[in-house]
């Protein structure tokens, strides 16, 4: 045994090499058990319907750019029909006992679990995210949301004691492409638990799992019209949120569209919750568990290719550990396996769409032009489809576009701070306010910092962890309203003066 490894010269810094001795063989998840239909209709009134618009549009696999299926385009009349179906189903559904509604939701959750592999594969095909994440995060969490809200369905009076709890009515929901199934579950589960009926519009580029969820609703025997799915583009979404038959609108997506929706529903007595963009600060103090903080930072920005509204895209490191931390982070970035999303060993999959890839490229170019230092590990990107390597910017300043604007991709910017006060000031120097992360070993500092973060979610010594019991939502341009937990249910009920006991 030699006592010095591969150290060559005395002045050369010792370094490590990877992948030269043991490389993993491809381990693709089979797609045999997932049938993708050539064409999907709309799900209205408990049955599949041809679009009155007569139009269909294609949905692609972002990993190879090939068409997966044609999906019905819901025009204005289709949205009318879906809202009418939801309205028709409302009295029956809302008058069911909470206990009975819970039974349906539990059934949906269980069927979703039984068909978990199928959903994971389909989500990976349609979205481009790695099977590891759809299998271990998206699908289990989606099922958890149904389980969790099933539990509340017969206990709403305990959530709002002494008050009369009523559903809002017909809920119009518009969801994004980054967590297609999970967002559908986030939106649908609390709405149904509280006795509302739903018309939901999945994102144009990732509609397949929401459509397959309709099969689960049918399998679970959910009454017709309680959930209706209208696929389409922004125009479809506009028809839905401006529809006079809709009593509440819930939207997750970009800040730009969120503002438009807010204007559209203003003054109409329609309830609204918005979960929008973010530019989260991820803070690492000198006393942090650095190796674990590196993992947290990687999870914070490279999870789901960075297509996460709460992604920790602004890394702020205390000056004394900046160099060592960035070295560790770069080394770790080299270990991220980018490639075939269906391979079980893939850590980062495909960028979701050509448009998104263009946006990422534009902002990364802007970062370089504005003088930040770009780092990307050597990594071979697949041909075909849309890909972008994990990216790190050092030497950034607070004024640069890559620090101000949401990139929604695997791009992290790093700057430093010296004192906790400066950390707070820099972290809050943003128009958003969805999430933040703090890495420190000091308990008192965690509390001090968390109280000062203007963010809806503050993670301590972890990042991008989600749970149905934990409310999620933002401040400022990240929107308002909460989803998940008891707080999330508040948006789906109307409270009146109750019958107070004696």
């Amino acid at each position: 045994m030699a006592n010095t490894g591969k150290r060559k010269g005395r002045r050369e810094r010792p370094d490590l090499t990877f992948g030269g001795v043991w490389d993993y063989a491809p381990a693709p998840e089979s797609t045999d058990h997932v049938d993708v239909a050539e064409r999907y209709g709309l799900f209205v009134g408990g049955a599949w319907a041809r679009p009155r618009s007569g139009k269909y549009f294609a949905t692609m696999n972002p990993a190879n750019g090939r068409k997966l299926s044609d999906v019905a385009y819901a025009g204005g009349k289709d949205v009318d029909a879906a809202v009418a179906a939801a309205k028709k189903a409302l009295p029956g559904w809302s008058r069911l006992s909470g206990d009975d509604r819970a039974r349906y939701l539990y059934r949906v959750a269980r069927v979703l679990q039984e068909r978990a592999r199928e959903f994971a594969v389909l989500e990976t095909l349609d979205n481009g995210k790695p099977i590891k994440e759809t299998r271990d995060v998206d699908v289990p969490l989606a099922a958890q949301h149904f389980f969790y809200h099933a539990g509340w369905a017969d206990k709403l009076d305990m959530l709002f004691p002494g008050q009369d709890v009523q559903p809002v009515g017909v809920v119009g929901q518009v969801i994004p492409w980054n967590f297609p199934l999970l967002m559908a579950a986030w939106k649908i589960a609390p709405a149904l638990a509280a006795g509302n009926t739903v018309v939901i519009k999945p994102a144009e580029t990732s509609p397949l799992t929401a459509l397959r969820l309709c099969e689960v609703f049918m399998q679970a025997g959910l009454p017709a019209g309680v959930v209706n799915v209208v696929t389409g583009d922004g125009k479809t979404g506009r028809s839905l949120v401006t529809h006079p038959g809709v009593d509440k609108v819930a939207f997750t997506g970009s800040t730009e569209v969120g503002k438009e929706i807010q204007r559209a529903v203003a003054g109409r007595g329609v309830d609204l919750t918005l979960e929008l963009g973010g530019k989260a600060a991820h803070l690492v103090f000198e006393d942090a568990a650095l190796d674990q903080a590196v993992e947290g930072v990687v999870r914070g920005i490279f999870f789901n290719q960075g297509h996460v509204c709460c992604a920790g895209s602004r890394l702020l490191v205390q000056e004394g550990v900046h160099d060592v931390f960035v070295r560790k982070l770069k080394r770790r970035m080299g270990r991220i396996r980018v490639g075939d999303p269906l391979d079980k060993n893939t850590d980062m999959g495909a960028i979701h769409s050509r448009e998104q890839l263009q946006r990422i490229r534009e902002l990364v170019d802007a970062g370089v032009q504005e003088g930040a230092t770009l780092y990307q590990p050597e990594c071979e990107l697949p041909r075909g489809g849309y890909w972008f390597a994990p990216t790190l910017f050092t030497g950034v300043s607070q004024t640069q576009r890559i620090v101000r604007e949401e990139i929604f991709g695997p791009v992290l910017s790093v700057s430093t701070f010296r004192t906790p006060e400066e950390a707070v000031a820099k972290a809050n120097d943003t128009s958003y306010g969805l999430s933040a992360g703090i890495w420190t070993d000091k308990g008192a500092r965690i509390l001090w910092m968390a109280a000062r973060m203007r963010a809806g979610v503050v993670w301590n010594n972890t990042f991008n962890r989600f749970d149905a019991a934990s409310p999620f939502g933002g401040f400022q341009e990240s929107g308002f309203g909460r989803e998940g937990g008891r707080q999330g249910l508040r948006a789906y009920v109307r409270l009146g003066a109750g019958l107070l006991p004696g």
Binding site: M1, A2, N3, T4, G5, K6, R7, R13, P14, D15, L16, T17, F18, G19, G20, V21, W22, D23, Y24, A25, P26, A27, K132, D136, D287, A288, A289, L290, D291, Q292, A293, E295, G296, R335, K344, N345, W439, D441, N461, T462
Partner: protein, 302 residues
């Protein structure tokens, strides 16, 4: 033993237990198939310190063990020998004779294994005798009593003394992580041992539960990696105790592969201390060759 003139710095970064375990669990989901599986399993065989540490050990049993370590699967020349056999000091001479010419090393536990509760002179004498009898590797235990009392310097000095007593023999330092209580302690004990000159840091004696766990080994690999990056000196890591299946061993190998990388992917720098693991790995290797599982009785016990 005189103390070193330079005051060693025993400070280490803190460890976050939840995030460490999350990372270990995440790496456990790596899917190892086909050629990667075969290559990995052969590497595992080559990394095993085939171990017997029982009161009832006999010269006969040790000779069987040595023969198995030298030729784990007699029908297949593509399956390598194990790295070493690991025995108690009184059986070192038997083992040394049995493995002569095979390339298999003889490792001996020493320093009052497993508890280490004996005086310094006895420990050093035991080490010297084991080396004299033919051990080329010494697996010592740290003084957990001193470590848990915060006397890091005493632990450090003892390791240095044992290292001197080893002479040419390689020193593996058993931290007995199951008795250290926290990951912070594991990290600090790793650091103390490496500073004191350990050639390997090793998780456990196998006599305490929990023995080796994946998060613990991940942490020790991170410590070894950081030590190398800071000083240029490589230190090996040995996971010992409780690793019984090929699947589990491959998960450990993934930790090595993705934490320390190529240089550590060799029996020189990573070892498994195990007894029943070998047969499961052999069974999997035969399964890869034939497409069928053999009966467990097709593989010799020792």
């Amino acid at each position: 033993m005189s103390s070193s003139p330079i005051k060693p710095d025993f400070r280490v970064p803190p460890v976050d237990a939840v995030a460490l375990e999350t990372r270990a669990a995440d790496l456990a989901t790596r899917s190892i198939k086909k050629h990667a599986k075969e290559r990995g399993l052969k590497l595992v065989v080559a990394m095993i310190d085939l171990t017997t540490l029982e009161g009832q050990d006999s010269p006969g049993k040790v000779r069987h063990l040595c023969s198995k370590a030298a030729t784990p699967l007699p029908r297949r020349e593509d399956v390598p020998s194990c790295a070493a056999v690991c025995v108690y000091p009184d059986l070192v001479s038997v083992a040394a004779q049995a493995v002569a010419g095979t390339g298999v090393q003889v490792a001996s536990v020493a320093t009052g294994f497993p508890a280490g509760r004996t005086d310094r002179r006895t420990k050093l004498r035991e080490v010297a005798l084991a080396v004299q009898a033919g051990a080329s590797e010494i697996d010592m235990v740290i003084d957990r009593g001193a470590f848990l009392a915060g006397r890091d310097r005493a632990v450090y000095d003892e390791i240095r003394a044992v290292k001197d007593a080893c002479g040419e023999a390689h020193l593996k330092v058993i931290l007995e992580t199951g008795e250290l209580g926290t990951y912070d302690n594991v990290r600090r004990a790793s650091h103390v041992a490496m500073l004191a000159g350990a050639d390997f840091i090793k998780t456990s004696t196998g006599k305490i539960s929990p023995a080796s766990t994946r998060p613990t080994v991940l942490l020790m690999l991170e410590a070894a990696r950081d030590h190398f990056l800071e000083t240029g000196r490589m230190v090996g890591v040995k996971a010992a105790g409780g690793i019984r299946t090929a699947k589990d061993a491959l998960r450990y190998l993934v930790l090595v592969n993705e934490t320390c990388g190529d240089s550590w992917m060799s029996p020189d720098w990573f070892r498994f201390g195990a007894s029943s693991l070998l047969n499961d790995v052999l069974m999997q290797l035969e399964k890869l060759r034939t497409g069928r599982y053999q009966r467990p009785t097709d593989f010799s016990r020792d």
